[in-house]
């Protein structure tokens, strides 16, 4: 009763005709990358801003930043995906009218990018805040003593150091984001895991389909990891960053 592997299944035609299973997997990979890259851009920019304002002396901004982080960090990603895609349009009539007309794939894609981007931004904000707070107090004071404004102090002294310090945890976030993008299958976006499942349903070669998906996820995550390590080495400040990125 052992499993009989059939790797040739990737070269078979899908029931839709004219399309092969390997093409299905590749198209899934395309959506996974598109969602991940766009969501990462949103997460990185919003996360840096939110993380930074949480270290300022303005109570209002700190509260706003805290609320942001708690909101997106405390709701399961699966639930957030459902809320963005199914519930939001019901609450906002113009959005509903738009989403009914537009190609469903766009609506799914936009919902997935927003959901993943905002979810990850909360996690990045937390790390950026920790990075800034890990800097010696003297740096902030020295910047003030030199006559820099708060904005200048962040721009020229605090953020350049803090962002370098948080590169390793950000690498983990990038890898998490890529894997989290598989949650988009719950709103019907035909990304990598969706396609692997679909291929399994049609061919019953579930093990082959998911093995392929696994290898691809590992490959993308490893690439992201290496890319971030390269960035880390490139931007390292000699003498300050002890043993980063080797």
């Amino acid at each position: 009763m052992s499993y009989s592997w059939n790797w040739g299944v990737f070269l078979e035609e899908t029931p839709e005709g004219g399309v092969y299973y390997w093409e299905l997997i590749v198209s899934g990979l395309g959506w996974t990358l598109a969602v991940s890259v766009l969501a990462w851009l949103i997460a990185l920019s919003l996360g840096t801003v939110v993380g930074t304002v949480r270290t300022t002396r303005s109570r209002g901004l700190v509260l706003l930043g805290d609320a942001w982080v708690e909101l997106f960090r405390n709701i399961p990603l699966l639930v957030q995906m459902f809320l963005w895609y199914f519930v939001m349009p019901e609450l906002i009539p113009p959005l509903k009218r738009w989403i009914v007309r537009v190609d469903p794939t766009y609506a799914q894609f936009i919902a997935a990018v927003l959901c993943l981007g905002l979810f990850t931004s909360a996690r990045i904000a937390e790390q950026v805040r920790a990075g800034i707070q890990s800097l010696p107090r003297g740096q902030r004071d020295a910047a003030a003593a030199l006559g820099l404004t708060t904005l200048q102090a962040y721009r020229h002294v605090l953020l350049p150091m803090a962002l370098r310090i948080v590169i390793p945890p950000l690498t983990s976030e990038a890898m998490n984001l890529i894997k989290n993008s598989s949650i988009a299958l719950t709103i019907g976006l035909a990304e990598l895991t969706f396609r692997a499942r679909e291929m399994g349903e049609y061919t019953f070669s579930f093990f082959e389909a998911f093995s392929a998906a696994t290898i691809i996820y590992v490959a993308i995550a490893m690439t992201a990891n290496r890319a971030m390590a390269w960035v880390e080495r490139r931007v390292a400040v000699p003498g300050f960053m002890g043993r980063g990125g080797r």
């Binding site: 009763m1 052992s2 499993y3 899908t14 029931p15 839709e16 005709g17 199914f86 349009p89 019901e90 989403i99 009914v100 190609d103 469903p104 799914q108 299958l185 719950t186 709103i187 019907g188 035909a190 969706f194 499942r197 679909e198 399994g200 349903e201 049609y202 061919t203 019953f204 579930f206 093990f207």
Partner: protein
């Protein structure tokens, strides 16, 4: 005509029973040795195989599978045979069958030629029509009216390629939108994100019956294709297959099937007392009068 195979099956059953344990092969041997038969069931395939409010599996397919279990008990002379109930999904049911985790799958599995390369099937116990559910207000009366509309369907089901083929042969153009399960696909229809939901008619009836506004929806009386549902067993296991065919065949021939069918399809069913109102179609009646395991 039909008597000969039946006689052969009965004769085979008698010899198998009298020959004792040593002669057993395949699934029956495994059941005898472990003292357990493992039944794979679904968790939400209403009314075929699903969990009630106490998390107990029940349904039309479960009732029929229990007939097989009774036959196994008699055949192996094991009145204390243990029944192990194993939940399965549409994704893992075939691997779990092949690796021996389950011996018999009782759910809503389409008997297809493609699947027959990997597993065997018992007699057809239900025949579905793949068709569409729409809102009454949409004005859609036939499948051809779907042209230019957005259609929801559940990913990974046989409806997806069928819809694509239908588009090609009839030169209509639709936009597809996928739900991850039937409930979600139905939600897409209910919230007007899709104008039709293409799926097996009985599953559509189930979704509509359990919806809060059942009167709003209607099932189009057309069919993209008919598909037979059947219980799944391991391939190349003639003695067990014969036992399944014989026990289910008897239920169908004796007319007991009428009572079992009515219990699940035309009367209120647990857990919420919903009545599916799904009387026997001619295709289903035909499957009962001449039991067969032909796939599509």
């Amino acid at each position: 005509m039909k008597l000969l195979p039946l006689l052969a099956a009965v004769a085979f059953g008698v010899t198998a029973a009298t020959a004792g344990g040593e002669e057993l092969t395949g699934t029956l041997k495994k059941i005898k040795e472990t003292g357990t038969i493992s039944i794979g069931h679904r968790e939400a395939s209403i009314p075929f195989s699903y969990l009630d409010d106490k998390q107990q599996p029940l349904g039309y397919a479960m009732d029929l599978c229990m007939k097989v279990v009774e036959a196994v008990k008699a055949e192996l002379r094991m009145p204390d045979l243990k029944v192990n109930l194993q939940p399965v999904t549409s994704a893992n049911r075939i691997p779990l069958m092949q690796n021996g985790t389950i011996d018999l799958e009782c759910g809503s599995t389409t008997n297809s030629i493609k699947r027959q390369e990997q597993v065997a099937f018992g007699p057809t116990y239900f025949v579905v029509n793949i068709t569409a559910a729409v809102k009454k207000t949409s004005g859609i009366k036939t499948l051809a009216d779907l042209n230019g509309r957005t259609i929801a369907t559940t990913s990974g089901t046989t409806s997806v390629p069928l819809l694509k083929q239908y588009e090609k042969t009839t030169a209509i153009d639709v936009k597809e939108i996928y739900g991850k399960d039937h409930a979600e696909s139905f939600l897409l229809l209910a919230t007007d994100r899709a104008e039709a939901f293409v799926m097996d008619d009985i599953l559509l009836a189930g979704q509509i019956a359990s919806s809060r506004s059942s009167d709003e929806f209607v099932i189009i009386p057309e069919s993209l294709r008919q598909e037979p549902y059947s219980m799944m067993l391991r391939k190349e296991d003639a003695p067990f297959k014969a036992l399944v065919d014989r026990s289910i065949g008897e239920v169908m021939k004796s007319g007991e099937i009428e009572r079992i069918y009515a219990r699940w399809f035309t009367t209120p069913i647990p857990p919420r007392g919903v009545n599916l109102n799904f009387p026997m179609t001619p295709a289903i009646r035909e499957a009962f009068t001449s039991p067969n395991d032909k796939g599509v």
